[in-house]
Amino acid sequence: MSLLAVTVIGHDRPGIIAETTAALARLGGNLEDSTMTILRGHFAMVLLVSADVRAGDVEAGLAVLTVDGTLKVTVREVPQEPDVAPTGATAYLLSVHGADRPGIVSAVTAVVASGGGNITDLSTRLTGELYVLLAEVDLPASADAAGLGARLARVADSLGVEVSLTPIDSDLM
């Protein structure tokens, strides 16, 4: 059993997910984690599929999606990652917004990385002149959250954007 990463990107229309997953089911694939969104009108999806089929055969099975040239499909084998062990990390929401300019994401995420933060979810939107970034960041217990916040504020200031880093509490019921 291998794990395959399937990406489908292109012009959005109704039915792409149904057609993709029907083809994968015909090949005996079992969907594991997946995510899909619309980026500037483009359909964008990544599926992790376990299957007893080689990546090339899955790509051939999904060729029906690409015949009209509006969708691009890739399939590649990826290793099984070990289960996430308890980390003791704290989750933070990083929010950045301001006038669009090149380099916001790279500058801000470089600060996060240098502070030991691991981004687990990210979305950015450009609407008119306004650029917005939202990211979830896991900070290890040993990290200096206040120091990271201060460094982010300095970088945001130099970019002319607003930044906030706030803990995300999750409560066990």
Partner: protein, 176 residues
């Protein structure tokens, strides 16, 4: 004044994890004076107390489809009103208002958390095990959220049924 009736010694029971039919069926009303119901109330509280970070436990979570839960938000940083340890049978939410979004996890879905909008002001009605006395509880903030989460369990609902949006589900990275 405690809302807790005198209960027998509680036994720690294994917690059922989704998927399991008992977690997705409406639980049945109980006789609050039935000794089995009283024992189950004690077992819920005992099981909740040995589970780090757990503030409530509903009977379906230990495999029993009865309308009964335990709850105790004492000491939680988000708690405002606090009624201490509570066990309640045949409960329902009578009134709810002022919804806010919060991220919650569940012993029965241990590897995920979800963003769920819940009322921050609730009035809950039910009956007290042992005595059978009718009880209404008006509360807010974190205790209100916990009451709604537990009563949802008795209606066969998990927080997964209430997640706010397709990207409102998260891997639980923080373990207690």
């Amino acid at each position: 004044m405690t809302l807790l009736p005198p209960l027998p010694h509680g036994r720690v029971r294994p917690v059922v994890r989704a998927p399991a039919a008992v977690l997705t069926r409406r639980a049945e009303d109980v006789d609050p004076r039935d000794p089995e119901v009283v024992q189950l109330a004690a077992d819920l509280l005992a099981t909740q107390r040995v589970s780090p970070g757990c503030v409530g436990l509903a009977a379906p979570q230990i495999g029993v489809g009865w309308r009964l839960f335990s709850l105790d938000v004492t000491g939680h940083p988000k708690t405002r009103s606090c009624h201490g340890p509570v066990v309640l049978a045949n409960p329902s939410v009578v009134a709810a208002s002022r919804k806010e979004r919060g991220r919650e996890g569940c012993m029965s879905v241990p590897e995920l958390t979800g963003d769920v909008r819940r009322a921050t002001q609730v009035l809950v009605a039910g009956v007290v095990p042992v005595t059978g006395a009718a009880l209404t509880v008006e509360t807010d903030a974190f205790e209100a959220r916990a009451f709604q989460h537990e009563i949802d369990h008795l209606d066969g609902l998990l927080f997964l049924d209430r997640v706010a949006g397709a990207h409102g589900l998260h891997a639980r990275s923080v373990y207690l």
